[in-house]
Amino acid sequence: MINLENISFDHCIKCTICTGYCPVAKVTHLYPGPKQSGPDLERLRIKNQRLVDASLKYCNNCKRCEIACPSDVKIADIIGSAKWKYSKKKLSLRDFLLSRTDLMGRVSTFFSPIVNFFTRLSVVKFFLDVFLNIPSKRKFPKYAYKTFRQWFSKNRDSQENFERKIVYFHGCYVNYNDHDLGKAAVAVLNALKIGVVIAREKCCGVPLIANSYFKKACKNANHNIKTLGKAVESSDMKIISSSSSCTFALKYEYANLLELDNSPIADRTEYITEIIYQEFEKGNIPKMKPVNIKAAYHAPCHLERMGSVIYTIGILKKIPGLELKLLHSECCGMSGTYGFKKECYQISQDIGSDIFKKIDKIKPDLVITDCETCKWQIEENTVYETIHPVTLLSRALEANNS
């Protein structure tokens, strides 16, 4: 049966502008580009599912095609759901491991010194390369010892004193890898006189979607819609996240791609810098000391798709002593787990090569970006420390307190 509700492909005027902005099609002929893989082939796929072709896996879901399309065709959603609906997921240990960020995190944070030691050994890297098709050139992000939640539960009491509160969806990265970012988010929100609440949460599902584990992604999504929805139902609290991709999933992907009812949380969910921006606009700006640095800012694809870059730049411009260089908006190539796959590694590097060169030319003191996987890509390919805008904001506050 043809689903007549989902015919945004019919708005396509065949201008091929989307393909002009696809970072993957730009660097490889293995991928025919969004126009062909999206609206063109969807016409055939809805009639005969066997016409699905394997090149769909090269789409890294950056959504840049959708931003470019003058006719509002939901190209990446068409491609994403084609992967889900028409193709069978082959068993892959690698994809399983890469996409189970919370499972891997729980195990690894417990043994973090050992895990961090082993993932940096060349023998282990060789093994991962040969048996799991994870390129040996990739560095794994370091795991933290214990979880952010454990830290937070010890500090929960201090949050009770705030009249206004917000639900913070910390995500896997903060929980298992970068507690400092979570702590920075809490510190900045507290400085704005907002207390932090943490609900029960599962991985937002972005890595699961990217590796076509749609059933598991739906399960996680339903869990998050339920628990986050419950946390805000009897108040006007907002839900925020410090990860652009988690925010994107909660707010849009659950409904547009997974076709779930995320109405209890969709309108409440915002990316963290938007909330901070709103406070700044109201005049609620904490005291900050000049940071006196030059920084290059890279806008992640999903933040771009949400139109939220304006808020991040808005708050960065309020940090005294920050010389901000905006990088031309383009995909860095990492795209979550994409760059960790051997078959996509070179594509991922080629996509990012322009950005690396531009950063080197600027010679900044550090790079700022909102997304953890962009951070990994930039740190691996340049010599510069790469941090989250909220981390920089908290450093400006710290300077003030000391």
């Binding site: 201008c15 002009g20 902005y21 002929h29 025919p32 509002d72 949400m306 870059v309 908006s329």
Partner: protein, 437 residues
């Protein structure tokens, strides 16, 4: 307040305005959804091509005063001939500072060839479409070779040749056609590759051996003087590629604009965006402005589709959302509307009068000149008729001009974008509105 000026729509009008404001040190943001009409355009800039749609204007600056007199509600009337001239020289300087030179025929119009071999009057073009050498070659009745690349389906040299031959200018020129195969290209055998202008452009930009391609071109073009080739000679390295092909083959290399995506247009778009960014402007590409709050003749704030609850504040705002094609105007069975603020518009209420007699007609289509109604300073009127002082409208969203019939498309966009920018800078620096007389 974070911004002095927020511009809605990032086509040539919005970008010109943004560059003007940013170059004067204003904090600017452009919010734009979807790529603009530049991606569909020839990449050449029209200033004024015709009074009636049937005549051809040779010297647009000379004719401007008469044109303005005869069209009292035209956006050009609001700019005035001097501002239009200033706007063009500002525009030309800014794109040139970013590395793209635009050529005019010593302030006269010239023509460019369309993908089907017809001619269009225009005012500024990139070097591969118009320069002094091309013009001089025409006086010598050159031999022309129109060449395609095998597999490119959006261009038919034979059709181009037939149409060119119908034209007086080309009647005595020998025109030959041919095609070449790109050497060493890497295509995926599993995918019936698309091979549109953008795909070929990327091959030129990345790894094509220009020596090989030059000798292939020479083998087809023989003793021709000019080689016409679809405009896909690179998006990043086009200056080097075109220069090198010219030197290696000895021909004048002429780029013919293609069907979308138009590489010539995208080059201009990229240059304008880089210029704007270099001057410190912020460009937000992933969101659409859906409305704002207007009270007492002032637009207080705006909000967007993805963030309906967040208010974006600025001192001045610009509406550069284009015409029907870009969603700046919308229509349904009953009426025509400006969708963001529901501004007052000029249009013919009788639906039967919206379109012309034929699809291609010198008199064009009436709907093309429907648009937002503004005062002499480009300020529009709100839904209840009140003037909105800090909102300026520029480009194709304006009423009373027909880019097709008059050949004024990008000219109006540049002139009104520049005029709005100038006024916003003045507002910011506390000066009074310029003396219009």
């Amino acid at each position: 307040m974070n911004y002095d000026c927020i511009i809605i729509g990032g086509g040539i009008a919005g970008l010109t305005c943004g560059i003007k404001c940013a170059s004067e040190g204003l904090r600017c943001a452009i919010i734009s959804s979807g790529m603009s009409a530049l991606h569909f355009s020839s990449g050449s800039i029209d200033l004024l091509g015709s009074h009636s749609g049937q005549d051809v204007i040779k010297e647009p600056y000379t004719e401007l005063n008469r044109f303005i007199e005869e069209n009292s509600e035209h956006p050009y009337k609001k700019c005035g001939a001097d501002t239009i001239k200033d706007a063009f020289s500002f525009f030309q300087n800014e794109v040139s500072a970013q590395g793209l030179d635009l050529f005019s025929n010593e302030e006269k119009n010239h023509f460019h060839v369309t993908p089907v071999g017809t001619l269009k009057t225009t005012f500024l073009s990139q070097q591969s479409v118009f320069n002094k050498k091309i013009r001089d070659a025409f006086f010598r009745k050159p031999k022309i070779a129109v060449i395609n690349i095998d597999g490119f389906r959006d261009f038919y040299p034979a059709v181009g040749r037939i149409n060119l031959k119908k034209n007086r200018l080309f009647k005595d020129c020998e025109i030959i056609t041919g095609s070449i195969s790109l050497p060493d290209i890497k295509l995926n055998p599993k995918n019936p590759h698309e091979f549109r202008s953008i795909d070929i452009c990327r091959i030129f930009d990345s790894y094509l051996d220009l020596n090989k391609i030059s000798s292939l071109i020479s083998s087809v073009a023989g003793d021709a003087d000019i080689v016409g080739i679809p405009a896909f000679l690179g998006l990043n390295n086009y200056t080097v590629i075109i220069k090198s092909l010219r030197e290696k083959t000895g021909y004048i290399i002429y780029e013919i604009p293609t069907l979308p995506p138009s590489i010539l247009g995208i080059r201009l778009d990229n240059i304008l965006k880089s210029r704007y960014a270099e001057l410190g402007g912020v460009f937000i590409a992933g969101d659409r402005v859906i409305g704002g709050k207007i009270s007492n003749g002032i637009l207080e704030y705006i909000h967007t589709e993805n963030h309906p609850e967040t208010r974006l504040y600025a001192g001045s705002y610009v509406l550069s959302t284009g015409s029907f094609f870009s969603g700046g105007m919308t229509s349904n069975v009953e009426k025509i509307q400006e969708p963001v603020f529901d501004l007052a518009i000029d249009y013919d209420k009788g639906r039967e009068n919206w379109r012309g007699q034929a699809f291609f007609h010198p008199q064009s289509h009436p709907f093309l000149s429907f648009g937002v109604k503004t005062n002499d300073y480009l300020n529009p009127y709100g839904p209840s008729g009140e003037l909105i002082e800090n909102l300026f409208c520029t480009g194709a969203v304006l009423s009373h001009y027909d880019p097709v019939k008059e050949g004024t498309g990008s000219g109006v966009a540049i002139s009104t974008g520049f005029l709005a920018g100038t006024q916003i800078v003045q507002r910011k620096t506390g000066q009074n509105k310029r003396d219009h007389d």
